[in-house]
């Protein structure tokens, strides 16, 4: 019963839960949104594993694509992308790293 694919699914599910917790507890909003984006991507892999390619495509385009873009624009509008490092010293490195990209 426990074969390679099952182990892979366990790893993916573990990753999913870790991502969810990290997204919720992270202090920096940009990190939260980026983690949420990877959460959506992993979710779309899980959809492929459970044989639902329709869902995988939709999740990748909608969840990881459009929703994340909307999150980013909102963050930009509320000034968390630029003033994040001024406001919170401790988030400086993360802010710089993502601003550069």
């Amino acid at each position: 019963m426990i074969d390679g694919q099952t182990i892979l699914v366990w790893i993916l599910l573990g990753f999913l839960i870790t991502c969810a917790i990290a997204a919720i507890v992270s202090k920096n909003l940009l990190t939260t949104v980026l983690i949420f984006m990877s959460y959506s991507l992993v979710m779309s892999i899980i959809w492929v594993v459970i044989e639902s390619p329709d869902l995988a495509g939709t999740e990748a385009a909608v969840g990881a694509g459009v929703t994340t873009i909307l999150f980013f624009i909102t963050l930009k509008k509320v000034g968390e992308l630029h003033t994040g490092k001024k406001k919170k010293k401790k988030d400086q490195e993360e802010g710089n790293e993502h601003e550069g990209s």
Partner: protein
């Protein structure tokens, strides 16, 4: 171990639901609340979609098979329902992000408590003048 090996998807979905639920209830930051909400929704979709999966069968794309038998393909219903759900969840998150945007414009903060306090202050000011 049977309870785990037979139900790991459902257990993961429930844990995710809990994480999202707590994110929605406990965080004061609106963006994180919305992320929590999205996680909660995805958890429900996972709970729904995993039921369609059957080992050894493939996705219900028939291709050239013109006489399909139900023994070859997985259950298509959960996938269809979740497809509906995903689109609903993106509409809802767009709407709540727009609300967040407007609230930030008005109160210059994302913290719901501060927003409540500021709106109260505004109301009291309007009353005294």
């Amino acid at each position: 171990m049977g309870w785990f090996t037979n139900h790991y998807y459902e257990i993961a979905a429930m844990i995710l639901f809990g994480v999202g639920f707590m994110g929605l209830l406990l965080n004061k930051n609106l963006i994180k609340k919305i992320v929590g909400l999205n996680i909660m929704d995805t958890a429900v979709y996972l709970l729904l979609a995993q039921r369609g999966m059957i080992f050894g069968r493939v996705a219900p794309i028939l291709g050239d098979n013109l006489n399909p038998s139900a023994q070859q393909y997985i259950n298509p219903i959960p996938a269809g329902l979740v497809l509906t759900g995903i689109v609903v969840s993106v509409s809802v998150s767009a709407f709540s992000l727009a609300l967040t945007h407007r609230l930030y414009k008005k109160y210059h903060t994302l913290n719901l408590d501060e927003i409540l306090l500021k709106s109260k202050q505004e109301k009291l000011k309007a009353e005294t003048h």
